[in-house]
Subunit: 145 residues, 2 copies
C-alpha cells in the first residue's frame, strides 16, 4: 500500500513530462513519454486517454500529433490528476474501515487521520501542475532515471 496507485503515479509523472515538453514548444507521443518516465507504453496510453477525455491534458491525432497542455491545464492543482485516476477514497472514510466512525463517534484514530488527510488534501489542492513542473525544471529533481 502506497499513497497512490501505480496508474496514478504514471499519470502524475506523465503530466509533468508533457507540461515540460509543451513549455519547450512540442507535443509528445506516448512512446517518448513512456520511455522517459519508465512506464509501460500501452498501459500509459490508456491512462493518457482518460486524462485527455477528462480535459486534464490535450491530445492531437495524426502526424505531429501527441499530447500537450494548455495554459488552463497547468493552472489546475495536481489533485485533479489524483482524483481522476484514484478517486476520492484516500481522502474520505474511516482509515480503519469502521462503519460507525464519524465526527460524532470517532474511532481513536479518527482525528489523526483527519489531520493527515487534510495535509494531503492541502498539498494536492494547492500545488499546481505548473508550479510542480517549474520546481522540477529548476533541477531539484529528475523525472527520469
Amino acid at each position: 500500500m502506497s499513497f497512490f496507485s501505480k496508474s496514478c503515479e504514471y499519470a502524475l509523472r506523465a503530466v509533468f513530462y508533457i507540461s515540460r515538453s509543451t513549455q519547450e514548444g512540442k507535443k509528445v507521443g506516448v512512446k517518448e513519454i513512456a520511455e522517459n518516465i519508465q512506464s509501460p507504453e500501452a498501459f500509459l496510453g490508456k491512462i493518457l486517454q482518460r486524462l485527455s477525455k477528462e480535459g486534464i491534458i490535450q491530445s492531437a491525432k495524426g502526424p505531429n500529433g501527441g499530447f500537450f497542455v494548455t495554459e488552463e491545464n497547468i493552472k489546475r492543482p495536481i489533485s485533479d490528476i489524483v482524483l481522476s485516476i484514484d478517486g476520492k477514497a484516500l481522502l474520505t472514510g474511516c482509515g480503519l474501515g469502521l462503519k460507525e466512525c464519524s465526527e460524532d463517534k470517532p474511532c481513536p484514530l479518527h482525528h489523526y487521520f483527519k489531520d493527515i488527510r487534510e495535509q494531503l488534501k492541502g498539498m494536492l489542492d494547492n500545488i499546481t501542475i505548473d508550479q510542480f513542473n517549474n520546481d522540477l525544471i529548476k533541477g531539484k529533481v529528475m523525472l527520469r532515471k
Copy 2:
C-alpha cells in the same frame, strides 16, 4: 486507494475485537470475530493465522480454543499490525514513484510527503493496541455495525 489494504483493516479490527474479548476473560473463534467485525470468515482466518505466526496475537487449538492476546501483545503499537500485513511501503519511497527523489534531490512534494509520513508513523508507533482498545470500550465508537 485507501491508506490500508482490506486485509489490514480486517486485521486491525480483529485484533481490537480479540483484545476486548481477552479483557472479558474469553478466547474467541474466527467465526465470532468475523461476524462482529464484518469480514469474510475464511479470509479472516488466513489473516489471523499470519498475525499469530508473527506473535502479534496468540491462538489455541481444540475445544475452548480460539484467539487471545497476552499482556505483552497489547503493549505493542498498532504499527506492528500494519507492518505485518501491508509492509513498509506506505512509510517509504517517493510518493510519486520517482526514482531520483531523495533528501538530496527531493521532488517538489517530497517534504510534504515526509511530514505526512511522519505523522502517520507517529500515530501508528505511539498508539498501543491496549490504548486504542480502551478508547473503544469507553464507548467513543463501535467496532461493529
